[in-house]
């Protein structure tokens, strides 16, 4: 009973997070300017990280946690570098 409740709600959360990723990808493709695309990319990788966490809860293994941590780290660095590039036109000066 409890396993069934948890399974269905985790499936629902996977669907919701997938929809959120699709919406963010839509803004990333359409966004009129570069900064819109970067904000959408930021939302996109946060959603991917949460999707991996829910997937890890569904399979019951903690392996997905490390992948989520790596996505969070690399996404932060990527967004920071892109914002710096928008401001200055170069990343390392």
């Amino acid at each position: 009973m409890s396993a069934m409740i948890l399974s269905w709600s985790l499936l629902g959360a996977l669907v919701l997070l997938g929809l959120a990723m699709v919406v963010a990808a839509f803004r990333m493709m359409r966004g009129p300017r570069a900064q819109d695309r970067i904000v959408a990319f930021d939302a996109f990788y946060v959603n991917a990280m949460l999707l991996l966490l829910v997937f890890g809860m569904r399979t019951g293994s903690t392996l997905y946690f490390e992948a989520a941590l790596v996505i969070a780290l690399l996404g932060f660095v990527a967004t920071l570098a892109l914002a710096k590039f928008l401001m200055r036109g170069e990343i390392i000066e």
């Binding site: 959360a13 929809l19 949460l50 019951g60 914002a83």
Partner: protein, 126 residues
């Protein structure tokens, strides 16, 4: 889901509630990313997913793994701290970059300048 068959009912209900709450708040933030009109409005939308959405899902993960392994599992706190620290940094830097670009191009829908004029000018050129 064979690993969760011996999960007590209260943990399943509470974990389901937290996961669904976090996922739907993330979806609301992503929809705001599409529906809002200007860039400076859209900058605020995804932080809903980075705070409440991530908080709900990470709390559910802590709860489920702690109950399943019958010991305290708190390594999700790492992600929570990291996301809480990094999200304001990136969004503030992006907002400043966009403001700099818009001001240098004399865009039409600029946000109004701050009152302390000299401070604003020197701060914007960073």
């Amino acid at each position: 889901m064979s690993h969760a068959s011996d999960l007590p009912l209260w943990a399943a209900l509470l974990g389901s509630f937290l996961v669904l709450l976090g996922a739907s708040l993330t979806l609301v933030g992503a929809i705001g990313l599409v529906r809002l009109k200007t860039f400076y409005d859209r900058l605020h939308a995804p932080s809903l997913g980075a705070t409440c959405g991530a908080g709900g899902i990470l709390l559910a993960s802590i709860l489920l793994f702690s109950v399943l392994q019958s010991r305290l599992v708190v390594h999700e706190v790492l992600i929570a701290v990291f996301v809480t620290v990094t999200t304001p940094v990136t969004l503030m830097l992006l907002g400043r970059a966009a403001l700099y670009r818009d001001r240098s191009e004399k865009a039409a829908d600029l946000p109004p300048p701050l009152r302390t004029d000299g401070e604003t000018r020197s701060g914007d050129s960073i």
